[in-house]
Symmetry: C2
Subunit: 136 residues, 2 copies
């Protein structure tokens, strides 16, 4: 937590209680990736009164600082996760919505030819299907 607070302070940003709550949620959540709505829900459970707008504004801010990463599973809502884990991708169950991390990254297997004259900034790789639980 202190690490992130320092990062904010280093940029001259204020440590508001709302920002601390958002960081707390990510640090404490067993679920790695959360939507804005979920972050907001987990906070208002304990401390009603925080607005969803503030969650959005701060998720954006933490994203720009590199503290969070944005994911997109194609259901047109963004998911966010703490950028403190090893680079990974996901297996997403289309039945129950759960997801597992996988360490395989396609970029390692691509010829540089394939992406000649293109400066890669980021990439997404997600696999959708039925998880072990739902197959039973």
């Amino acid at each position: 937590m202190d690490y992130y607070i320092n990062k904010l302070q280093a940029k001259g940003l204020k440590i508001t209680s709302q920002r601390q709550e958002i960081l707390r949620v990510f640090l404490e959540s067993s679920n790695h990736h959360l939507s804005a709505e979920e972050v907001h829900g987990k906070i208002t459970e304990k401390y009603p009164g925080m607005s969803l707008d503030t969650v959005y504004r701060n998720l954006s801010l933490l994203l720009n600082l590199g503290i969070l990463t944005e994911l997109n599973f194609g259901d047109r809502k963004s998911l966010f996760e703490l950028n403190n884990t090893e680079h990974h991708h996901h297996l997403i169950c289309t039945k129950c919505g759960s997801s597992q991390e996988i360490n395989f990254c396609p970029l390692k297997f691509m010829d540089s030819q394939q992406v000649e004259n293109f400066k890669i900034e980021k990439h997404s790789f997600e696999i959708f299907g039925i998880c072990a639980n739902c197959m039973k």
Copy 2:
């Protein structure tokens, strides 16, 4: 065109002028992937009067029939393309929005171990960055 019309008829679906227009747009468009809004725009250019709702309903239908494929570039709007090209992925320019197709597919390089006990249905792999044109 006839191929797709047969596919609709085989399911007892009606061949409305709206459906034919949508198929025409995909067959004639130099741009491979189009949003609902773009499809609608291209049609009303020529034949005003078609509603966007109908475009959405029919894109869904063509998707379920396997005639179209859905793409998601993370800007929370869906793109659609005809499912008649070889399987591919994309390089998407974050500056100008253009995209190129690449034939590399990560699934071919994954160990089956990585996805044990998971029934793959589909996957997404998109690379974002700066294209040759925008780098000049």
